[in-house]
Amino acid sequence: MYWCCFSFWSCGSICRLFSSAWLFFSGLAYLLDSVFHRIGLAVLTAGPLEGLWTAFYNSTLWRLERFNNSIVMGSLVVSLVLFVPFYLLSNKLILKYREHFLAWVQKTKLAHVLNILRYGGDV
């Protein structure tokens, strides 16, 4: 909520991107809660990692991060695992997008509206 407001006030492209991504991924995370919970619980209760988690658990900084919550841990593990493949895949998709869709998107009314918001109508 806070960051949504901030993005509209600043009208910056980064903030817009951030808020859009935040909304999208929050929704996605909500849908995938049960998967994250299962993965997180398995990781947190894995015998070989118990010493590591115990050390973290005794640190206030880590406790603030709520690493011991099954959904937090599950989503972190999933994001770390998917980071590299997702990075490579998204780069390819962006290139494809620029090649095939960018010109068409620029012509849409939505793009015009966004450009007006971004550059104050001096497009």
Partner: protein, 604 residues
């Protein structure tokens, strides 16, 4: 994350827009100002609403837990020295919505800020002032849905005044089923069936005609013995064959006789029971309709059971409500403990801590109970739902001296969940010089009884291990004034009871409470038993004797004829035994030699 920046994209870039002023600078002041304004506004809104939010959360959570309205007049959160003060807390009694079970004037405490960052609410000192019980409410605190009762007490003894009138015997016998009649009818049918069976069997057994036939054959063998050596040999073979037949018949009759005698013993036993049954009926009906010494003891127990039972049920009901907060819903997985928070938020896994602390802990709560008698102060230590983490049980102690109407009061105990598999709760209450006023013992219309005044010493010790409840209560009442509301037209028994109770000056009551929290049993004893026995014993005995005499006559009228018929039917059976004996004798006579006529005597 924005992709490859090489000029690979063939699409033309958008028309170069004019860059806003200062876009290339590190700090964009409009953004900073916007950020600051938003932050300040949010902080202001939070500051204005946070107290209301806390109040709302406490009311909602409390209402859900208690099952009736929980209201809070105000909540005040302070950030510098992080603390909270709650004023005007009212917890409605779910069973009496116009009454507050508890009302607290002020609760204040400081929280440990550092531990709060670790999501642990640690309160070192809490002060709870002005705790009052049973205060009236202006509006109903009911919330519509009533939680079903969890405490199931053994059936409470109802106070019933015994009647001086002798009950109508005919009316009683019209609705009571006599066991003696049932037994007599059942036995008579069985005897008849036995008779029919034996009648048929006797027809199949060897009889006089057969024995006469044996005799004729024997005579024939004897006469053939005079025909030389061949006749002697042939006669011997025939005689052996006859002897074998007779022997088989004797065996048959002997076996039948044995069976018959066995059956006869069983039937005789049942006959004896049926003969004694009228006395059993008499005893049962007399005990049911007339007052026995046991009934007198029940009457005195019923007087005390009412007010005591109400208090036990109230205490256990509140104890049951506390249960969910005494122990967290943790589940162990190896050395880690999985604790379920709100649904949809995942689970928090706990690991071993170097300095273990529960998620919620009040180390010391100082409580001031504002009772009608005066101020009773107490301390509760280590309030937490995670006692296994803390390793120490919750303890409490309250005391008050020189109160109005109470010389001294002391309550202490502990709630121990350190080992969740072996929960153990204990409490001890000692009250000295309590002035008991207007305690209703019976509200029965026939004889309302109340203790107008008494000075009471009370000792209660309660122990709860798991579900097993064991409590002992001993009370001594001195300078007792018992009042009874006897009407001028009251019966002799009511007057005698009233007079006996009015004379009571001291009273000792002992209660033993056992069972489980959900289903308990109270065993009461008091010297009221003796008082009532002395007052009513003689009067009741005369009544019982008269009633018993009338009842015996009436039962005899009903059962004498069926019993007589039964005995004569049984006599018919003995005739069968005689017949069996006679046949055995006849058969035996054939096999005997000697001088008996027709005896089996070989001609050599």
């Amino acid at each position: 994350m924005t992709g490859d920046r090489t000029p690979a994209a063939p699409a033309a870039p958008p028309k170069s827009p004019q860059q806003p002023d200062g876009a290339s600078r590190w700090i964009r002041w409009p953004g900073v100002i916007a950020f600051t304004v938003v932050t300040v506004l949010l902080a202001a809104v939070w500051w204005l609403l946070v107290d209301g939010l806390i109040e709302c959360v406490i009311e909602r959570t409390g209402t859900q837990a208690v099952g009736a309205k929980v209201e809070l007049a105000a909540a005040d959160l302070t950030l510098i020295s992080l603390g909270l003060t709650l004023t005007g807390l009212q917890v409605t009694d779910p069973d009496a919505p116009m009454t507050n079970a508890v009302e607290v004037s002020r609760i204040s405490f400081l929280m440990d800020g550092l531990n709060l960052l670790r999501r642990k609410i640690i309160i070192n000192d809490m002060t709870v002032d002005g705790v009052r019980f049973g205060t009236p409410r202006k509006t109903s605190g009911a919330i519509g849905k009533q939680e079903p009762g969890v405490v199931q007490k053994a059936a409470r003894t109802k106070f019933v005044l015994p009647s001086a009138q002798i009950p109508d015997v005919k009316e009683i016998l019209a609705k009571e089923e006599l066991q003696s009649l049932k037994l007599a009818e059942s036995l008579r049918a069985d005897i008849q069936a036995e008779q029919d069976r034996w009648k048929q069997q006797m027809a199949e057994l060897p009889n006089k005609a057969k024995f006469d036939d044996y005799k004729q054959r024997l005579d024939k063998v004897k006469s053939s013995g005079n025909g030389g050596l061949g006749g002697i040999v042939g006669g011997a073979g025939e005689a052996a064959s006859i002897q074998k037949d007779i022997s088989q018949d004797i065996d048959k009759i002997t076996a039948a006789k044995k069976t018959f005698e066995g059956n006869l013993v069983q039937l005789r036993k049942r006959l004896d029971e049926a003969t004694k049954a009228p006395e059993e009926d008499l005893r049962r009906i007399r005990d049911k309709y007339a007052l026995s010494p046991q009934g007198l003891a029940n009457m005195s127990s019923a007087l005390i059971d009412g007010p005591l039972g109400d208090r036990i049920e109230t205490a256990l009901r509140w104890y049951a409500k506390l249960q969910p907060y005494l122990q967290s819903s943790g589940e162990r997985k190896g050395n880690a403990e999985v604790v379920k928070p709100l649904r949809g938020n995942g689970v928090d896994v706990r690991f071993k801590e170097q300095a273990p602390l529960p998620d919620f802990l009040i180390r010391t709560a100082k409580i001031g109970l504002d009772l009608a008698a005066g101020l009773v102060s107490g301390t509760i230590r280590n309030i937490t739902p995670d006692q296994p983490v803390l390793g120490t049980p919750t303890t409490f102690e309250f005391s008050g001296d020189k109160l109005t109407g109470v010389q001294s009061l002391k309550l202490n105990g502990e709630i121990n969940r350190v080992d969740p598999a072996k929960p153990h709760d204990a409490a001890a209450l000692n009250v000295r010089g309590y002035r008991l006023l207007n305690l209703a013992l019976s509200t029965d219309d026939s004889l309302p009884v109340s203790v107008k005044e008494a000075w009471t010493d009370l000792d209660l010790k309660a122990d709860l291990r798991g579900e097993a409840l064991d409590a002992d209560l001993a009370a001594t009442l001195q300078s007792v004034r018992i009042t009874t509301g006897t009407k001028p037209d009251a019966g002799a028994v009511a007057k005698a009871v009233a007079a006996a109770l009015s004379d009571v000056k001291s009273l000792h009551v002992k209660a033993d409470i056992t069972g489980t929290v959900k289903q308990y049993d109270v065993r009461l004893s008091s010297d009221l038993d003796q008082v009532l026995k002395q007052a009513l014993g003689k009067q009741m005995q005369e009544q019982v004797n008269k009633f018993e005499g009338q009842l015996r006559t009436a039962i005899a009228e009903k059962v004498n004829k069926p019993l007589g018929d039964l005995k004569s039917s049984f006599g018919g059976l003995t005739g069968i035994g005689d017949e069996l004996n006679a046949r055995l004798q006849q058969a035996g006579g054939l096999t005997e030699g000697g001088g008996s006529p027709g005896g089996l005597k070989l001609p050599f």
